[in-house]
Symmetry: C2
Subunit: 325 residues, 2 copies
């Protein structure tokens, strides 16, 4: 056994505690006992240097994006995360300090969400850094949130604020400049998704559809429209912006397209019946999380229409890059 793999074992094996069925990652496979009568929720996202994160991104921030984006998928189903497996395609840029920082960040998620690493594979390559994570969650049977349940007239809500991550990326690649504090805020919003696990869980039995915003607000609302066979009308002025994003948007109105289509928000977009709108407002207070109504579902099929202050339709060149299978 080379020292390289001893290092990986040293840092990865502890992440499998307390799940005894992971056997400290020593066997061919892990053995898990799912809770009887619960459904298992499974998602798998892959991220690649220079595609999903910039070359030179710290191991801490790579870990945040890798695990945060997958937890966000779990939140969109309303489930509770349980386990994860990682395939790591590493290269010569990775040393022991890198692995230490990467796994220390994973350990924080283990603690925060009560999850554990139950297996994976590590390969040394000459490629740019690539990772695939499989995340497991649990939920009561037949209870999960789906994309296809929205009804005509349902209110459309989003959590948190939109566009920060897309502007954070623009700042990182030097395409926009702002104050030092805004820069830090926006870049952290890009690097460190805030998966809305508690919100997703509270929406069970309430939301008629839900999705997490990874491809961009318009594209992901488009997915709900396609799956529900409906259209959606939303209003530019209702889209919740952070102070930092609002300030940049006021200075340069062209940034609004990036805000609405840039993606990587990892906020939840969901629909509820008109009668449940007041519950969502209560929930916002309970969770101390902005939940904003941005429009409603319509019968006009499969199309998202965005209106400005004067009720004129806004058209963009694109509705976000779709990279999911």
């Amino acid at each position: 056994m080379t020292s390289e793999f001893n290092i990986i074992n040293k840092y990865l094996s502890p992440l499998s505690a307390p799940e005894v069925g992971a056997f400290g990652l020593t066997d061919d496979a892990a053995v898990i006992n799912p809770t009887n009568n619960k459904s298992l929720i499974l998602t798998k996202d892959a991220i690649v240097e220079d595609v999903h994160f910039l070359a030179g991104t710290s191991p801490e921030n790579i870990a945040h994006r890798l695990i945060g984006s997958n937890l966000s998928d779990i939140s969109a189903m309303g489930a509770k995360p349980t386990y994860y497996m990682i395939a790591a395609f590493l290269n010569n840029s990775v040393d022991e300090a890198w692995i230490k920082e990467f796994t220390e960040t994973l350990a924080k998620y283990n603690q925060k969400y009560n999850i554990s690493l139950i297996g994976g594979d590590t390969v040394k390559t000459n490629n740019s850094l690539s990772f695939s994570l499989t995340m497991f969650g649990e939920i009561e049977k037949n209870n999960e949130l789906r994309r296809n349940g929205a009804q005509d007239g349902d209110a459309i809500f989003v959590s948190g604020t939109i566009g920060d991550a897309a502007l954070g990326l623009k700042s990182l690649i030097g395409e926009i400049t702002t104050t030092e504090s805004s820069k830090i805020f926006l870049e952290n919003r890009y690097y460190i998704p805030q998966p809305r696990i508690s919100l997703g869980n509270k929406l069970l039995g309430i939301a008629t559809s839900a999705i997490d915003i990874s491809d961009g607000l318009l594209a992901d609302l488009g997915h709900i429209c396609e799956c529900s066979n409906l259209g959606a009308n939303i209003y530019k002025d209702k889209i919740p912006l952070s102070n930092q994003t609002n300030e940049l948007s006021l200075k340069n109105s062209e940034l609004f397209e990036i805000i609405a289509t840039g993606g990587d928000d990892y906020e939840l977009l969901f629909t509820v019946r008109k009668d449940d709108e007041s519950y969502i407002n209560q929930l916002s207070q309970e969770l101390d999380l902005r939940l904003t109504k941005i429009g409603k579902m319509t019968t006009k099929t499969n199309k998202v229409t965005l209106f400005d202050k004067r009720n004129d339709e806004i058209n963009f060149s694109k509705q976000g890059y779709i990279h999911k299978i």
Copy 2:
């Protein structure tokens, strides 16, 4: 949605049938209802062009290796495979014909093993082709085969023949030459693992330990020794060789080191109590599969000792490359 992703959806979505919880791969995650009171077996292997397969390998053979190596891990626990998820890191060399051939091969495994694709992610990169597959299996609770249960005096068995895949790789890279029919046999043994699912299943309650041979016979027996805190004595003349491998080995005695340490055999290596040896011989007939006793476990800790015809110890420079975490 770009045409590229329509192509992927066209070929990947059908692989999710009949699992309705995969939602035709349209949602953020899949929803699976595990069988009550069964354990879930989970494994994840990653493969990379130029590391695990040669550049220019056909999409059919990449699919064989990807899914076969993961099924082999499931067989080593004695479980029945159920679902899988794939992360595919593609590049410009992949066109529609490539995806068609790749997915047609996966479809054959779906049918043969009654498994289905329940999710994944596809990323276009500038890297060499890379894949990660997460395979799921089911088994009665507390029944799985492990690496750590071997006892002093247990007989050590292997399935099939050893070394064919390692010599197949040598043939592919032009380091050995042989007859055309031998070449085809050995190269297919490298490309197309034969996961021993039925054997693994039949060994439940019988084998005291089991592992699939991916790192090489000596290395993987070493894993059983470490996990069981025992040693092992095995005999060169007992190691089962195909006619093709035997012929090459007789011509060049140095090839034996490659046979015993080269790996990629994807045969099962397992231990049974002395009393169960006759059952294994019956099982060999029942499954029409060679099952050969190659030695026995000893109290000499953590060391695999290989003996020649004259009972002299054989020492190699290495015991196989260990790439698992």
